[in-house]
């Protein structure tokens, strides 16, 4: 399983700050976004703009992810 942290509206829509996604090491960030849509349809409105961070850096859809990675999903940032 891949542990995924959620923040801000993503967390509110899912109703939890952390979720688990069935995972095979080597699955990509793009695959994660698909899995999120399927398992948490409440996230669907946000998915086109959802950002994924792996090990504290923004990750492209092509990046391969291992279950030992630190992974987070969140909407575009709005700090400052």
């Amino acid at each position: 399983m891949l542990t995924v942290k959620l923040f801000a509206k993503a967390r509110d829509l899912v109703g939890s700050p952390i979720i688990q996604i069935p995972w095979s090491d080597g699955d990509t960030v793009g695959r994660l976004k698909l899995a999120l849509s399927e398992r948490h349809p409440s996230l669907l409105p946000l998915v086109p703009r959802l950002l994924v961070a792996v090990n504290n850096d923004y990750a492209p859809d092509s990046l391969k992810v291992r279950t030992s990675d630190e992974v987070a999903c969140f909407p575009p940032v709005s700090g400052g």
């Binding site: 923040f7 850096d57 969140f74 940032v77 709005s78 700090g79 400052g80």
Partner: protein
């Protein structure tokens, strides 16, 4: 100094921390909670962050700024939690030998912070509703 904090930002201490005789110019930027946005009235903002990544991104921003300008000292503090009208959400202080450099570096740091550092704000409107602010952003480009 790079800091995320739940406490009120002491921008005076932050500014003092970047002053030095090597620099002729200090620029401080404060972001504060503004009442009116597009005709709607804000009563408060809630800021949430992803602390580990935010710290990492802020450190990257400092490095990127130092590659562009002859920065002497820099300090960035972002507040998290519940902020009332007029309170300070972010403070960026930078010192450089000359003022043009300090203005450019300070503007760069706050502009980039707003597109790349994982912090989010939630509006508390005066009608009692709340709303996450999520710009229709793309993946931030690497700095």
């Amino acid at each position: 100094m790079i800091l995320l904090t739940q406490d009120a930002i002491d921008y005076h201490a932050l500014t003092e921390s970047v002053r030095s005789p090597n620099s002729g110019a200090v620029v401080l930027f404060l972001g504060t909670v503004r009442e009116m946005t597009g005709g709607r009235r804000t009563v408060a903002l809630d800021y949430e962050g992803y602390p580990e990544m935010a710290q990492a991104k802020l450190a990257e921003l400092e490095t990127a700024a130092r590659e562009r300008w002859p920065i002497d000292r820099v300090g960035i503090v972002h507040r998290l939690g519940h902020l009332e009208l007029g309170e300070i959400s972010v403070a960026v202080a930078v010192s450089c030998p000359h003022r043009q450099q300090a203005f450019e570096a300070g503007k760069f740091l706050i502009d980039e912070l707003k597109v790349s550092v994982p912090i989010w704000k939630k509006e508390n409107w005066d009608d009692g509703s709340t709303e996450w602010v999520h710009p229709s952003g793309e993946l931030p480009p690497p700095v």
